[in-house]
């Protein structure tokens, strides 16, 4: 690849003695968070600020007959009660489609429902008051009369002719369908010695960010400018959409993102109630604050997964996987989410099934249907857990059928480590993966043979432990191929501006955002390393469309790989500019100079020549002393987007070791291992913690988390007491190991790591549970693996 020579040169630059690359250094922003001195949107107050509370539909599907707000408007401290129709005067509706997802259709969605509600929890009116408590009191006094309509809740019957069509203008309840047929699937199945089929069922679950979604929108009528304070992963996307639907120029909208209490993909979308909050601020000409409460979060934060996937695998007796075939069905609620759409997850499932394996024979169908439940969309590891669970579940079933060890069947089918670059049957292009190296490392870390022996001994004592293995691939560093090509104004490039301040410290503005992943730290580590400046003297500014270069933000495991590379390139330019000035001051040449420990030094012996602080003083205050014609540029900006590969795929393998209590159906997680390959590790500790956090979200999906709807479309467990999330008591220790295959597409070589944990954790657990239950001939292909599911499979209930 063309960047290969430059890569070598820069790696040596980053490998200098004082480099922070590859080192564990504490994140710069932790202190304020630990002392309770962060600033989350839910903490914010502005002068004249009012609070909005939404009256939400108790029905999954109903016609709005009337809204009587007269009593509410008379209540103390109430500023306004606004209906959907009234708000439509300031904000236009939207349709969540992308042109590259061919055939995807959706209906116009309004900020507040007009005439009809399509899920339980959809807002029907906004109540604005001087405090949230007053607004909540008044919301109870808004009388809404509904005529309940038949709710479409079961995805399996959503396309039946007798099922009502939710949006008649669309003709049917089919949002999107994709078919793929690669290789010679029929011949491959015909040539298989064994064929195994299973139906995989995935519970609908959600992100449960600890800080709910929160917005403060401040329309300044005198400036004709809207400032939106929001916990979002993508500030420029919010700017674009708020401007578009409020009839403003983007220059009239500023989006500021301070501390964010968890995101995980929940906060990368635009929600109707957030749009309503922006519009209310414009309508009422004052700052409006919206903070979802926990019940609203469960009813309106995007849900995810909820797939039913039929899978089929053909295998030779020698273990060769001949073909995969799937038929996936998912229900996404009544609208395709805006602007990223709700077809991406099913599309990803089609893309990713069978991804780690060499077989070229693959057929898939995915259908995405509408239903009267909360909207579904992209949540951490979009599609990966489904694809990984189906693939790895099928591989284990095939192995069991032909009597092969689960690790051995994988070794015989994983793409060889020297086979790259290559492509998958679905067209994914792999630059360099390391499945076998990762598997070998995992075997050592977990002492696989030892565990198998222990398992056999315990089984004789009627202690049922299982080992589950799951190889996976992960989409990271997305180019414009993800959203841009489909017409969405979601930037895939990111920018970083770096400047030397008047005391020789560095200020760095980046378009990636921070929700705890370590964006601020990795940016400071890269910039500090290239500039020879200590991290304590690098200040990183992010999350403000007025202050940072234009860019995508932090999602889809892109912050380090794309934003990090932009930081590296910007710092290199600034470094060159500093050395040019230093050479002029020192009557030397730039090639004879270097920067280390906050000073310009001799390249040869490292002897200090001039401190950056002194250099900055001369440049900013005594430019008259510089030689004629020297005009220093102590600020540099660079942008980056991957161009060669649409995505930088990473890979890895996970293993779970657990015990099933066959009397109670409870699963005790004993240990979990992950080996993954995200290329260059900028800060190994941050990578490991991303992996661990991601694993635990996957473990939640595997064992606990499910949004339980009844047949009328009522979410029955919309609170944290009934919707179970992983807590410290049930979680295992997680060992993380790495294989390092840098991408050559950037000089930094970093790929993403944020979703790898979530991608494979549930698959590893499900395979481990089935392994534990082998003596009972019970196979479960459904998550969450609740005691009820397990006892049912064991025919105990």
């Amino acid at each position: 690849m063309s960047s290969s020579p430059a890569n070598k040169q820069t790696l040596s630059e980053l490998d200098r003695p004082n480099s922070y690359i590859g080192k564990v250094v504490p994140r710069p922003n932790l202190e304020r968070l630990m002392q309770g001195r962060g600033l989350y949107v839910s903490d914010m107050e502005l002068p004249r600020m009012a609070h909005v509370v939404f009256v939400r539909s108790p029905h999954a599907h109903a016609k709005i007959i009337s809204i009587d707000a007269s009593a509410a408007k008379r209540m103390p401290s109430v500023t306004a009660v606004v209906t959907g129709e009234e708000l439509a005067s300031v904000i236009t509706p939207w349709i969540g489609v992308l042109s590259h997802l061919k055939g995807l259709k959706s209906a116009p969605q309004s900020a507040i429902a007009i005439d009809r509600v399509c899920w339980q929890g959809e807002a029907v009116a906004a109540v604005v008051a001087s405090s949230r408590a007053a607004a909540e009191d008044a919301a109870e006094a808004v009388a809404v009369q509904y005529k309940e309509l038949e709710a479409v809740t079961d995805m399996r019957t959503a396309l039946d002719p007798q099922t009502p069509v939710i949006h008649p203008s669309l003709g049917d309840n089919l949002a999107f369908e994709r078919n793929l047929d690669a290789g010679a699937v029929d011949a491959a199945f015909a040539g298989s010695d064994e064929i195994v089929e299973a139906d995989f069922v995935f519970g609908r679950h959600t992100g449960v960010t600890l800080e709910p979604r929160a917005v403060v929108a401040d329309w300044n009528a005198a400036e004709a400018r809207l400032t939106i304070y929001q916990g979002t992963q993508a500030p420029h996307m919010v700017q674009n959409l708020a401007a578009l639907h409020l009839g403003l120029e983007e220059s009239q909208v500023r989006v500021v993102c301070k501390d964010v209490g968890g995101s995980f993909g929940i906060k990368v979308h635009i929600y109707a109630d957030e749009m309503a909050t922006y519009a209310l601020s414009k309508l009422l000409r004052r700052p409006i604050k919206f903070v979802a409460d926990r019940v609203e979060s469960f009813n309106t934060d995007i849900h995810a997964r909820d797939h039913r996937c039929k899978g089929r695998i053909g295998v030779k007796r020698d273990g060769t996987i001949m073909a995969f075939e799937i038929d996936d069905l998912t229900g996404i609620g009544p609208y395709s989410m805006y602007p990223r759409t709700s077809a991406i997850e099913a599309n990803q499932v089609v893309n990713l099934i069978g991804g780690p394996y060499a077989t070229k024979n693959y057929r898939a169908r995915a259908r995405v249907v509408y239903q009267n439940k909360n909207v579904m969309c992209q949540y951490r590891a979009v599609g990966h857990p489904i694809a990984c669970s189906v693939t790895e579940g099928l591989v284990d079933l095939a192995a069991a059928k032909i009597g092969l060890d689960p690790v051995e069947i994988r070794r015989r089918n994983l793409i060889a480590d020297d086979a790259y670059p290559c492509a998958s049957p679905s067209g994914l292009r792999f630059e360099l993966l390391s499945h076998h190296a990762a598997m070998n490392k995992l075997m050592t870390m977990m002492n696989y043979d030892g565990l198998r022996a222990e398992q056999a001994v315990l089984r004789k004592k009627k202690i049922h432990r299982g080992i589950g293995i799951a190889s996976f691939i992960e989409v990271t560093n997305p180019s414009a191929a993800f959203y841009g090509v489909g017409g969405a104004k979601i930037s895939s490039q990111d920018g970083v501006a770096v400047r030397l301040d008047a005391q020789g410290a560095v200020i760095c503005q980046t378009s990636i955002t921070e929700q705890g992943q370590g964006s601020e730290s990795l940016t400071a580590q890269i910039v500090g390393s290239v500039l020879g400046v200590s991290m304590g003297r690098v200040r990183v500014i992010l999350g403000d469309t007025d202050q940072t270069p234009y860019g995508g933000g932090t999602w889809a495991s892109r912050g380090a790989g794309i934003g990090g590379e932009a930081a590296l390139q910007a710092a290199k330019i600034l470094r060159k500019n500093i050395l040019d000035v230093a050479a002029a001051i020192l009557q030397s040449s730039p090639s004879e100079l270097d920067i280390a420990n906050n000073a310009v030094v001799n390249a040869t012996d490292g002897a200090p020549r001039i401190e950056l602080r002194e250099l900055a003083r001369i440049v900013y205050f005594r430019p008259d002393t510089l030689p004629p014609g020297v005009q220093p540029e102590l600020m540099a900006t660079r942008h980056f987007v991957p161009r060669e590969y649409p995505f930088a795929f990473t890979n890895g393998v996970q293993a779970s070791w657990l015990e099933v209590d066959t009397d109670t159906g409870f699963v005790k997680l004993l240990k979990h291992w992950v080996v993954e390959d995200c290329g260059t590790l900028i800060n190994p500790q941050l990578v490991d913690e991303q992996i661990r956090g991601g694993v635990v979200q996957g473990l939640g999906a595997a064992l606990f988390e499910k949004c339980i709807y009844d047949e009328r479309g009522q979410l029955t467990n919309a609170n944290m007491a009934d919707y179970l999330v992983p807590m410290s008591g049930e979680m295992p220790d997680i060992d993380v190991g790495h294989v390092v295959s840098p991408t050559l597409e950037s000089e930094l070589g970093a790929k993403g790591a944020g979703e790898a944990g979530t991608a494979g954790a549930a698959a590893a657990v499900a395979n481990a549970v089935n392994d534990a239950l082998k003596p009972f001939s019970a196979t479960i292909t459904e998550i969450p693996l609740t005691p009820q599911v397990i006892l049912t499979a064991l025919k105990r209930i």
């Binding site: 202190e31 630990m34 001195r37 009191d137 600890l210 944290m720 807590m727 008591g729 979680m731």
Partner: protein, 161 residues
């Protein structure tokens, strides 16, 4: 709704006299009236632990306690525990171990962990996990938090004669 009631209490060692509506919970009182926004509100029904504070030395969920119930009490929040230096070593361990990501659970987590460390000198990992099992963290997966608390317990034992 009834009229505000006067309360008098100590918050982080400072005397506070305030008028509060009887229905206002302690979390909202701290955040909205005293502007102590380090106490976070995650679920408002006593499950997530983000609003954990100390009242007369005991940890409580401030979303489940009414402000009027703190009449005459001593309330300590993350701001007070940080300024007094009482948990400086625990905070340093959290920093070194990257035991927080978004940080929203962290004030409650630190206060709950300090509660355990005050009660027990030698909690093992299982015990730490059990004591923190009422504090939800979506980011870390808990292991780094358990590590940080364990390291702090060991260090505190080492300091004792």
């Amino acid at each position: 709704m009834t009229a505000p009631l006067p309360i008098s209490l100590h918050v982080n060692g400072e005397r506070v006299d305030a008028q509060v509506l009887p229905r206002v919970n302690l979390a909202d009182f701290l955040r909205e009236q005293l502007k102590l926004t380090g106490t976070h509100v995650g679920c408002e029904h006593g499950v997530c632990g983000a609003c954990t504070v100390r009242v007369d030395g005991e940890i409580v969920r401030s979303c489940l306690m009414l402000a009027v119930q703190t009449q005459g009490a001593s309330v300590e929040t993350i701001e007070g525990l940080s300024d007094s230096g009482e948990i400086a070593d625990l905070q340093a361990a959290f920093r070194d171990r990257n035991a927080l990501q978004c940080g929203f659970c962290t004030p409650g987590m630190l206060i709950a962990a300090q509660d355990l460390l005050k009660q027990e000198a030698e909690p093992d990992r299982e015990r730490i996990r059990e004591h923190l099992a009422g504090n939800y963290c979506r980011c870390t997966g808990y292991q780094a938090i358990i590590d940080a608390v364990e390291v702090t317990a060991q260090a505190r034992r080492g300091q004792k004669p």
